[in-house]
Symmetry: C2
């Protein structure tokens, strides 16, 4: 039951012309030429079957039919305009971030406050579901992902590489007279000794990894938990360095060696290419990139 709607552009032109009582002024408002207005009105008149304007010497005036049509058209366009504007504005209201849990708990949770301070009008919703979000199927604005940065259709900004290095509390280090060389770490309890990062890091450091075998599995499943254990002095953890810059700065953890492991993957900010200029996405991008860059070397 299609309503057989009239040519909509013609209606819009008609509405403006009716409001102004002038084709020229309507043309100016709509950013087109007077000839275009004249053409569109004539088109609409032919569709309706009757003139809508009487062409008087220095002005045009609505015919009876025209004056019945005009207010309704005006109302309709007002509704349309308001709804559209609301949708446009509303689309800036909530920023939905889908992020890997590690990043959310180790970095975002502690920094998102400064984003909210800067953009109080943007509500932030975090979605830490584990699956890789599909922007076409879920209402998500931006994602933070771990991977190689190559996702078709998405813009990817490198946040930082996932470089890892051992960390422990100062007190624990002191307890063995300081950590001077990598092998010293083996004197301590290794948090999650089954983590492949440990094996790789000791190999980078040219330390035999035999003694890692057989140690009790203390895996806690998350860097955040292991970091807490390390800060509590319960052992030495191997952690993503960037996540704990604050703790190091505050002296709650120390990074005894500059040596960094790198498993090749990284954290990326991603969003659909088509939406790169959406205000809230732009706002987040322009906040997080400098924030990450400033954030420790």
């Amino acid at each position: 039951m299609s309503q057989q709607l009239p040519p909509l552009t013609a209606l819009r032109v008609f509405e403006a012309a009716a409001r102004h009582g002038s084709f020229t002024k309507a043309a100016t408002e709509l950013g087109m030429t007077q000839a275009a207005v004249s053409y569109q009105i004539k088109l609409l008149e032919e569709r309706v079957g009757t003139p809508l304007f009487l062409r008087k010497p220095r002005q045009v005036v609505l015919t009876e039919t025209g004056s019945r049509l005009a207010p309704a058209v005006g109302d309709a366009f007002n509704i349309l305009g308001e709804a559209y504007a609301a949708a446009r504005a509303g689309s800036g209201g909530t920023l939905c971030i889908s992020t890997v849990l590690t990043f959310a708990s180790n970095w975002l949770a502690r920094h998102i406050g400064s984003f909210q301070m800067r953009h109080p009008a943007i509500a932030v919703r975090l979605d830490t579901s584990s699956h890789m979000v599909d922007f076409a199927r879920e209402e998500v604005d931006i994602g933070i992902r771990s991977g190689d940065g190559a996702w078709p259709g998405l813009v990817s900004h490198l946040l930082f590489r996932a470089q890892y290095t051992p960390m422990l509390s100062p007190r624990l280090a002191d307890s063995i007279g300081g950590v001077k060389e990598p092998a010293d770490l083996l004197k301590l309890r290794i948090l999650d000794p089954t983590d492949v990062w440990w094996k790789r890091w000791f190999e980078l450091a040219n330390v035999p990894t035999d003694s890692l075998e057989g140690r009790p599995d203390t895996s806690m499943g998350s860097q955040a938990y292991e970091a807490n254990a390390a800060m509590a002095g319960q052992g030495v953890a191997i952690l993503t360095r960037k996540f704990f810059t604050n703790e190091i700065a505050e002296g709650r953890l120390i990074q005894p060696f500059d040596l960094l492991g790198d498993d090749g993957h990284a954290y990326w900010l991603v969003y659909p290419e088509a939406r790169r200029n959406v205000p809230k996405i732009r706002a987040f991008r322009e906040w997080i990139l400098p924030e990450i860059a400033d954030f420790g070397g």
Copy 2:
């Protein structure tokens, strides 16, 4: 303060898609391809700045933004559609005829009833103002004019030529023992002897016109009045034959001679070319042309 309205065609497509929850069905309803719907929705989403649909496996569902936008757009299009339909229908309601007075009083007044019988939904308004109507400046649907039928931008249908001939009442004819030849008329009182038609007609009839000079001027300014005078037996009038076919058929007037004068002009039905298919105009045209043709030879 232009509202910066969205692309209207895209909105119409969006409205249909939202209603159906399917691009394919929306395409069917709108009579276009699914690809076109997809294109328009994408366009609109880019303008709005946020997706309006989530693409689920076998269907599309509105996002939050989309579901806020949809009802308002639906309302707006309903208003638009109704107003447009009303204007379209309303344009068929009244037929305004601008006509020369002679035609109105001598022909139209007696025949218009049959048009109204056939089209009871069409109200007829007659405008017998004397100036030649300008369809661009006045709310007039059709005109009946006297002239040569060449008016740019207008369609002209010949109604009949303005052929004139003497007419008188049967009683008056009998009073002089019948009118046998044109010269007999000069025995009678000539209604409006200054009318150029008389001179021309007598010339056609090879009758000297000298005796027309000096007769009292009985001009009444209108054929209708002169016809009434003739029917009352007050004299012989020279009249447009077509206008008085009825009176002749009913025996109230007689046309003593077949000889017809013709001053070259005629009565025409005219209307703007662009409106030839407007229902009420078509209805009038399709009524009057046969009506005139049937109407006496």
